[in-house]
Amino acid sequence: MDKHIVTPITAEVTKDLRAGDYVYISGTVYVARDAAHKRFMEALDKAEECSIEKGQEEVERKQAGALPFPVENAVIYYMGPSPAREGRPIGSAGPTTASRMDKYAPRLLDLGLKAMIGKGKRTQSVMDAIIRNQAVYFAAVGGAGALLSKCIKKSDLVCYDDLGAEAVLKLEVEDFPAVVVIDCQGNNLYETAVRKYAKEV
C-alpha cells in the first residue's frame, strides 16, 4: 500500500506501517553513517559518565541532549552524498548498507529514534530494539542516488564537517520513496518477499 508520511514520525504513525508498504517521506531527515555514529556513541558515553550517580532518568535526559540533533521521533538516513554541483542542494544521495550501523542503532532507538532509512539486512538486536520502541526500518533503492537526490530540497551541515562525506546533515525531503522492510511487529520483508519468489533449483 502507498502511504505518505511526514516527519517527525511518532508511534501513532509507525504502528500502522507494515512490512511491504511503499511510503513517501516528507520533512526533516538527519544523515549519519559510520564515523558519525561512532562519535554519537562517544558523546553518549561521556554524558552517561557525568550523570550516572543521579539515576537512569537523568542519564537519558543528558544523553538525548548530548546528541547533535533532536533524537526524539527522528529519522536517520544512512547515507554519504557525493559533492553538490553549483546551485544544487546535494550530489548523488542513495542509501548505504545499514548493517554497519547495527552496533549503534539499538542505543539510539532506546533514546527515541523512530526510523532508519538504509539498505540491507539488520541484526536481531536491531530488530528487537525496533519492536521494543515501536520504530521502523525503511529501505531506499540502493544504487538510485541520482534519482533520490531529486527528492532532497535542502541540505544543511549539522556537525562533524571534518568527516567529509560522513558529516551529519539535516535534510528537507519531499516525497522521498522508501519501502517498509522491518515494522514494529517484527515483520521482515527481506525474509518474506524472498521466500515468495524463491524457486526450486
Partner: protein
C-alpha cells in the same frame, strides 16, 4: 620499434574515465538492465528496475553520479612491452588522473589513508593498480571504480580438489545468498577459479570487467556461467533484495591453472552499474 607515450596523456585519460564511469552506464549493462525490466515477475521488483533506469537517465542528463559511492578506483594497466613512458612515474600519472577526476568531477572521496587510523585522503587516491606486460606498443587502461556495498559482500573459498565443480557452484550460490539485499541487487557476479589465494581474487575482479553479454571461451565455463545465472535468479532475492526473479544480470567466470592440492574460488560481487571503462593509448 619503441613507441613513446607521455604520462601526461595517461593522467588526462584517467581523469576523463573517472567522470565517464560514474555518470554513464556501459553498453552491455544497459542492455542487461533493459532485458531485466521485461522479464521481472515481481511488481515491486519491476518498479525498482524502472527506478534504476530513471536514475541512469537523470545521472547522464544532469551529471549527477549514478551512485553516491563513486568507489575506490581500480585500474588495470596492460603495458605493451614496446612502450616507453616519458614524464612522471606511471603510477603517479594514474593517481594524478584519479585526483583530478574525483575533485574536479564532483565525485565522492571515499578513500582513507590507513585502514585503522582512517583519515580521509580527500582526493580519492591512491588507486588500486594492477600492471601487466603484454605484446605490442599500446597501453590499455581499464578503470573500474568499485563501491563497497558490494565489495564487502565478496568472498574467497579455499576449496579442496575433491569438492570439484559442485563445490564451486555451491560457493558461488552461498556468496550471492549471503550478500542478499546488501550488495544492491541486481548484481553482476565475477568469479575466479584456480591460481593461488591472491590470483583467484584478481581473476574475479577481472571477470567483472568483461562485458555482461560475453561468455567464457571455455565450453564448460560458459555452461557454468549460464547455469549459475539461472540458479541465482531462482533464489528469490530480486531487485533491491525485496523479492523477485532478477537477482543477477550476469555471471562472469575466469579460470587459471592451480596447484595439485588446491581449488581456490573467489566471488567478487558488483552492483547493477558495474562501472568499467576501457581506453587504449
Amino acid at each position: 620499434m619503441i613507441r613513446t607515450i607521455k604520462t601526461e596523456e595517461v593522467t588526462k585519460n584517467i581523469r576523463e574515465m573517472c567522470i565517464e564511469a560514474n555518470h554513464y552506464l556501459s553498453r552491455d549493462m544497459d542492455k542487461a538492465l533493459k532485458n531485466a525490466v521485461e522479464s521481472e515477475e515481481a511488481p515491486l521488483g519491476k518498479k525498482i528496475l524502472c527506478q534504476l533506469q530513471e536514475n541512469l537517465t537523470i545521472a547522464a542528463e544532469e551529471l549527477i553520479p549514478v551512485c553516491q559511492d563513486t568507489g575506490m578506483a581500480v585500474v588495470f594497466a596492460e603495458i605493451g612491452q614496446e612502450v616507453h613512458f616519458e614524464g612522471i612515474l606511471l603510477e603517479e600519472a594514474i593517481n594524478e588522473g584519479v585526483r583530478q577526476g574525483y575533485t574536479e568531477g564532483f565525485l565522492r572521496k571515499s578513500v582513507v589513508k590507513d585502514p585503522i587510523l582512517r583519515e580521509n585522503t580527500k582526493d580519492n587516491t591512491p588507486a588500486v593498480i594492477h600492471y601487466s606486460v603484454t605484446e605490442g606498443d599500446k597501453l590499455k587502461l581499464t578503470l573500474a571504480p568499485k563501491g563497497f556495498g558490494s565489495e564487502n559482500m565478496s568472498r574467497i573459498f579455499m576449496l579442496k580438489p575433491a569438492d570439484g565443480i559442485e563445490g564451486v557452484k555451491n560457493a558461488i550460490l552461498t556468496a550471492v545468498k549471503d550478500a542478499g539485499p546488501n550488495a544492491c541487487p541486481p548484481v553482476v557476479v565475477g568469479v575466479g577459479i584456480g591460481g593461488t589465494f591472491e590470483k583467484c581474487a584478481l581473476l574475479a575482479k577481472q571477470a567483472l570487467t568483461r562485458a555482461a553479454d560475453e561468455h567464457s571461451k571455455i565450453a564448460y565455463v560458459k555452461e557454468m556461467e549460464e547455469e549459475m545465472l539461472y540458479k541465482i535468479n531462482r533464489l528469490g532475492i530480486g531487485p533491491g533484495g525485496l523479492g523477485g526473479t532478477t537477482t543477477a544480470l550476469a555471471v562472469n567466470i575466469n579460470t587459471y591453472p592451480t596447484h595439485i592440492a588446491g581449488l581456490p574460488v573467489a566471488v567478487n560481487i558488483c552492483c547493477h552499474v558495474n562501472r568499467h571503462v576501457v581506453r587504449v593509448l
